[in-house]
């Protein structure tokens, strides 16, 4: 696994040195070997010890056998971004052990499966060798499970070496197995065995240690896709169509897991979930459902988004509410389906031919996945348009320390949808009702849905040119009027979507010379970098964009700063490009800092980039 910071370089960045409750552990195994359970047990244990923790799964696009790396970061300061270095390496994969050993930073620790073939020539690290087979042979495990359970060996060894109490590990196991004691005990006996073995044979020679704290109380551990699923369910989603694609699949899996939240008195579902034959069908279905009055959504990733282009243009132009989650992965094309990236932003914003523009919400964490999960459905109905929510593999598939979610603070918003009675009242008051007439000068018309028992409710929905009475028209004036209204509507959306979140360095709120703009999963790394930079005297303000289109606040922030670094995890600097193409400012003070290296961003990278730019004028 690639590590940004080389042993030498590391020394120049004192603030990133590891310490107690402040280092990362990396577990290298084979995909599909069952190590995921062990990793989560480690994470849950730290969580239970009150230590802020985060996990990142670096897995291959493969079902079984290819290398996978899991990193677990403990951070007493509560940083949840990926740590640039992983001090402790659990090397349990023959295919990568040589590379894994080479990548251990100076001063780090190697826990190697002694059954593998490898050579260590690193006097600068501490080495522990663990005879996994031997340890396992001391217990009795059902043959079918033995291989998977062998992964518990490194858990036990870590418990001993780094100070995780065994009772906490057992609690974590119980959680993991849904409080089922039998599997928990079976796995625990392997932990116990290896703990005992380690106690007997391994002398602690390094300084890495976990110590109980109280920084996780009241917090939860959850994956972003799970949060998004809950958001949708609490947002009153009634129709989901989807086609499996990594890393969005688990979003819908989680909706299925939580279906019990949405049963009626008879145990019947209040939400329909349909596996479509592909993404064209998935998006067609949610558009049909949204048109017919359901609150509908899908979840997909890049290739799926590409396939949805034509249909989302229709939904935009015919003004049909629906929600599309894009849990992004590394593109172009099939790219790296199991690596993270923020590379779909510009494409989502302009998805479909011919002057189409979309709303895109940009959650940064699990809490916002939940919040935007329900809000997106409201905004879609309110603005009568498809709403994209762009998350990414890092947010969606990794486990995050989070505040518990806030129950929605506003009632479900159906926007200007007229039922039979409301339509009647509207007609009484206005003497007319035309679907696309701009009665409120906000660009949003009033809609009815099929099945409204009123003789005047019907109108004709189409992707072709139409006047405000929803009648087909090729007249230039009608076309222009409609396009202009759609643009006004888009301007209305600027105030409806979640606004940017600011972190000003000075308490007075006065602007520093340096501004930072970022979005999505980079957020924890940006905060961490800002704090480290501040400690070194480089102060910066930070604006996190939470949606497209932008509001005036964005331009104000940019104008107020001398230099604004736009930090993104894609290759082209797409947010920066959108800012540039829409900026009303005469000055151009944006600096695009882009990563796009398949991994979640680290604070160190941001820090390095900014220092470098600040040094070289």
């Amino acid at each position: 696994m690639a590590i940004d910071m080389q042993p030498d370089a590391q020394m120049r960045w004192q603030r990133y040195q590891p310490g107690v409750n402040d280092f990362a552990l990396m577990v290298a195994t084979k995909n599909g070997s069952g190590s995921q359970t062990s990793n989560v047990v480690l994470i849950r244990s730290l969580f239970k010890m009150g230590i802020p923790v985060s996990g990142k799964n670096l897995f291959p696009s493969n079902i079984k056998g290819l290398p996978t790396w899991y990193t677990i970061r403990a951070s007493k300061d509560g940083y949840t971004a990926r740590r640039a270095t992983t001090e402790v390496a659990v090397a349990f994969n023959q295919d990568t052990i040589t590379e894994d050993i080479a990548n251990i930073p100076h001063g780090g620790v190697l826990i190697a499966n002694k059954d593998l073939k490898y050579r260590v020539n690193r006097p600068d690290i501490t080495v522990y060798e663990v005879p996994v087979k031997d340890i396992m042979s001391r217990g009795e495990f059902p043959k079918d499970f033995a291989d998977r359970i062998a992964n518990m060996v490194y858990v036990g060894v870590c418990c001993h070496l780094f100070g995780i109490p065994l009772d906490i590990a057992y609690e974590a196991l119980l959680d993991q197995f849904n409080r089922k004691e039998k599997p928990a005990r079976m796995n625990f006996s392997a932990i116990q065995l290896s703990y005992d073995w380690a106690k007997e044979y391994l002398e602690k020679r390094d300084s890495f240690r976990f110590e109980p704290m109280n920084k996780t109380q009241g917090k939860i551990l959850i994956e972003g896709n799970d949060a998004a699923a809950l958001g949708a369910l609490f947002g009153g989603v009634t129709f989901v169509a989807w086609y499996p694609i990594t890393p969005s699949t688990s979003l819908v899996d989680n909706i299925l897991n939580h279906l019990n939240l949405r049963k009626d008195g008879d145990g019947k579902n209040t939400v329909a979930i349909v596996q479509a034959e592909d993404e064209l069908a998935a998006v067609g279905m949610i558009i049909g459902a949204g048109w017919a009055g359901a609150r509908s959504m899908t979840a997909t990733s890049g290739p799926g988004v590409s396939l949805m282009a034509e249909f989302t243009g229709l939904a935009y132009f015919a003004e049909i509410p629906t929600v599309i989650w894009d849990v992004t992965r590394m593109g172009p094309s099939t790219g790296l389906p199991t690596r993270t990236s923020q590379g779909d932003l510009l494409f989502l914003y302009t998805l479909s031919h011919g002057d189409t523009r979309h709303i895109v919400l940009l959650p940064s964490n699990a809490e916002e996945c939940f919040e935007f999960g329900w809000k997106a459905l409201d905004i879609a109905e309110q603005m009568q348009t498809p709403v994209f929510v762009m998350s990414d593999l890092d947010i969606g598939m990794n486990v995050w320390l989070s505040n518990p979610f806030q129950y929605p603070d506003t009632p479900i918003n159906h926007g200007k949808t007229l039922n039979k009675e409301q339509l009647e009242a509207f007609l009484q008051e206005k003497g007319e009702w035309f679907r696309y007439r701009d009665y409120d000068a906000d660009g949003v018309g009033y809609r009815t849905v099929p099945g409204t028992e009123h003789p005047g409710a019907a109108y004709f929905t189409r992707g072709t040119g139409h006047n405000d009475m929803a009648i087909y028209s090729e007249r230039r004036e009608d076309w222009l009027q409609n396009m202009q209204r759609l643009r006004n509507k888009f301007d209305t959306a600027r105030h409806v979507v979640p606004g940017p979140v600011m972190r000003m360095s000075s308490e007075s709120g006065e602007a520093e010379a340096i501004g930072i703009i970022s979005f999505g999963s980079n957020d924890p790394a940006v905060h961490e970098a800002i704090e480290h930079m501040a400690a070194e005297g480089i102060t910066a303000d930070y604006m996190r964009i939470r949606a497209l289109p932008f509001s005036q606040q964005v331009w104000d922030f940019i104008e107020a700063h001398d230099r604004v670094y736009v930090i993104e995890n894609n290759f082209d600097g797409q947010l920066c490009q959108i800012l540039r193409m829409e900026s009303p400012l005469s000055r151009s003070n944006l600096v695009s800092l882009t990563l796009g290296d398949t991994l979640p961003m680290t604070a160190l990278w941001i820090h390095q980039q900014i220092v470098q730019h600040e040094e070289v004028p």
Binding site: D264, W291, A294, S296
Partner: protein, 343 residues
């Protein structure tokens, strides 16, 4: 004369057609209007769906009191799937073309049928792309010549056969020149639970109407072979079951198909006859028709309805689109309890 809903036939019309005078599609629109009027169809419950093409324009030309959705080319089936699941009270009438269904939309068509989406699916089949001016569609005759595009070298897709193989439970073929048959089949289709497929030969008088084309008027008029005379003994959508006097035929000439809601389709054998309840026979019939180039029309296949996609989703009784907010947002307590699990 007003129907049971107090509506006149003209109430079931739509906007004035902008198709070519004489286009087969307009006759079908007319039969949809008549069938809806005769069936006392409550227009507010109807949705009209289509893709793109001359045929797909027609939903604007009938049932002005119904919501219509002219979507994108070839992908109407997915829109219909979503809409009918969102509100299972809706009566869905879809119109597509042979290009829309057989070319670009073939995958969605097959998957719609596999899901057994509850709807009437009409293909206005003219063997060409009308709206883009006369290219061959996937149902064009093999070996046929067209002015601009030369010879068609590919075998035609048989949409009825594809529907049956794909799991459709109501499959009919008709000819837009046979107004009565079209109308009766439409009425029966409206009674069906699940996907009812109507493949209606509907001549494009502008681009594919020379008598040597099996999709032309002259050919249809000359060669249509109705498999049976069809009569429907059906309830209106609002009124009680109507007593229709059916002339007495010898039993061996008559097949009566009882539908889901008690409606009877009575088929009086013409020529060799055909029992639409026999799947193997239906397939053989279609294979023979295609081999011998016969325009056999009528109810080709009927099967006891299997569950629709909506049925399999174990949904609450109220249409999803009509659920109260309180039914679709779990309680604050539910969230709190859940959060505890993640702690």
């Amino acid at each position: 004369m007003p129907n049971a809903l107090g509506l006149e036939r003209t109430d079931y019309k739509g906007a004035t057609s902008t198709l070519c005078p004489g286009c087969g599609h307009d006759s079908i629109s007319n039969q949809i209007i008549s069938a809806a009027y005769d069936s006392d169809l409550p227009m507010w419950r109807v949705i009209k769906l289509s893709g793109i093409g001359c045929s797909s324009k027609t939903p604007a030309y009938f049932l002005k009191g119904s919501h219509g959705f002219n979507s994108v080319h070839g992908r109407m089936p997915s829109v219909a799937t979503g809409a009918t699941i969102a509100n299972h009270d809706l009566i869905a009438i879809a119109v597509s073309g042979d290009g829309d269904t057989g070319s670009i939309g073939f995958g969605q068509f097959k998957h719609l049928i596999r899901r057994n989406v509850h709807m009437v699916y009409i293909v206005e089949n003219n063997g060409v792309y009308g709206l883009t001016k006369g290219q061959f569609s996937a149902t064009a005759d093999e070996g046929q010549f067209l002015k601009y595009y030369g010879k068609n070298d590919l075998p035609p897709i048989d949409l009825c056969l594809e529907a049956i193989i794909g799991g459709a439970t109501f499959v009919a073929r008709s000819f837009s020149g046979d107004a009565k048959q079209v109308q009766t089949l439409l009425k029966a289709a409206l009674r069906h639970r699940g996907t009812a497929v109507l493949d209606i030969i509907s001549p494009c008088v502008t681009f594919n109407n020379s008598p040597d084309s099996t999709k032309s008027y002259p050919y249809g008029k000359e060669n249509e072979i109705p498999l049976h005379e069809i009569e429907l003994m059906a309830a209106g959508y609002v009124a009680a079951k109507q007593e229709i006097t059916i002339p007495e035929y010898p039993a061996e000439l008559v097949i009566e198909v009882e539908m889901h809601d008690g409606t009877f389709v009575r088929l009086k054998k013409l020529g060799e006859g055909h029992d639409p309840r026999n799947r193997a026979e239906a397939i053989t019939l279609l294979e023979r028709a295609s081999r011998e180039n016969l325009l056999l029309t009528g109810l080709i296949y009927y099967e006891e309805p299997r569950p629709t996609i909506g049925d399999t989703l174990s949904l609450t009784a109220t249409p999803l689109a009509r659920l109260e907010d309180s039914q679709i947002r779990p309680s604050r307590e539910a969230l709190d309890a859940l959060m505890k699990q993640y702690m």
